[in-house]
Amino acid sequence: MSVVVPVGVLLLLGYALLKRVRVFSAFTDGAAKAFPLLGRVIPCLAAMLAAITVLRDSGALDALIRLLSPVCGALGVDARLLPLILLRPLSGSAAIAVLSDLFTQYGPDSEIGLTASVLLGASETLLYTLALYFGAVGVRKTRFTVPLALLATLTSVVMGLLFSKLFFG
């Protein structure tokens, strides 16, 4: 697996060059788009990390996690992942904030770091997308969208947890 990604990077760049893509300027144009993204993510990080830090330092987060642990344990879920699972459909930037917090605390290669990565990767900012897409065209009656989309998210979470156990447990 460790060879696949660097080789893939090389293949993609070589293929682009063959197809006469201006590889250098395409790369810099793409990288430039990281700044608006970071501009949106960092203020959100500030808000979420302020809230999470005060929750953790006060001991409230630990108490909450201890309280929920038996329930989560019965379901086979690490209670420390709950904030991520609950925030993911609400806001992508907030979920990234929580993930980066888990990375700093436990490391990206710990079981919890790996599982959190899978959970973030396998689901989508459902409510934001719904509001944006339907809002843009003024559709009010969304029929079966919300239940279906929620079910899709739930499936992603469950499967993400299962596959993480399988791969990293």
Binding site: G30, L38, P108, A122
Partner: protein, 186 residues
């Protein structure tokens, strides 16, 4: 989101006021925002690389080919897509390649075309519902931003999550496709 944010802050501040006092509570809040800057700078490195690479990918014919090959199986799920078929295919292709930001304009474009062709304005058509459901389940071939993020935080195996992400999103996409098919009227 407003309520979530206020709730988190309120519980945290009140608890810390009781357990450790006001100075500690304020220090925690500022420590949080300081960490935001640090994490932001940390994640910038990986993000720049992968988004640069995605910029190259967008310029190759691969994207057009992927969206072209999606058009046929799409008819099964979007029988009434009409003029929006191309925008839908591009939206789904971008999502599969982890280009969430590139996907959004195509998605909105697809919604606009579908609403223009919609006989019942303001009521979602089958295709709109299916598009949103597929966006929620989001089959992910390579989660570039995520891999960059893991790299930035010093992971020794940044790409270890690619396969489980692919498998779990494939499962949820399969479930969504089946359910969509059942919900579609035609």
């Amino acid at each position: 989101m407003d309520i979530v944010f206020f709730g988190l802050l309120a519980v945290g501040i009140v608890t810390e006021l009781v357990t450790k006092g006001g100075d500690a509570a304020l220090a925690s809040l500022i420590a949080g925002t300081q960490n935001a800057v640090q994490n932001g700078v940390t994640m910038a490195g990986g993000m720049l690389f992968w988004m640069g690479l995605m910029g190259v990918l967008e310029q190759t014919p691969l994207m057009a080919r992927l969206s072209h090959s999606l058009q046929k199986p799409m008819r099964f799920l979007f029988p009434d897509a009409g003029g929006a078929a191309e925008a839908i295919a591009l939206n789904l292709s971008c999502n599969m390649l982890g280009l969430g930001n590139a996907a959004t304009p195509y998605g909105i474009e697809a919604m606009r075309i579908m609403e223009a062709e919609n006989p019942e304005k303001g009521v979602a058509t089958d295709s709109m519902c299916v598009l949103l459901a597929l966006n929620a389940s989001c089959l992910e071939l390579f989660p570039a931003t995520l891999v960059g993020l893991r790299q930035s935080f010093g992971s020794a195996r940044p790409a270890a999550v690619v396969l489980p992400v692919l498998l779990s999103s494939a499962c949820s996409t399969a479930v969504t496709v089946l359910l969509c098919r059942l919900c579609i009227r035609k």
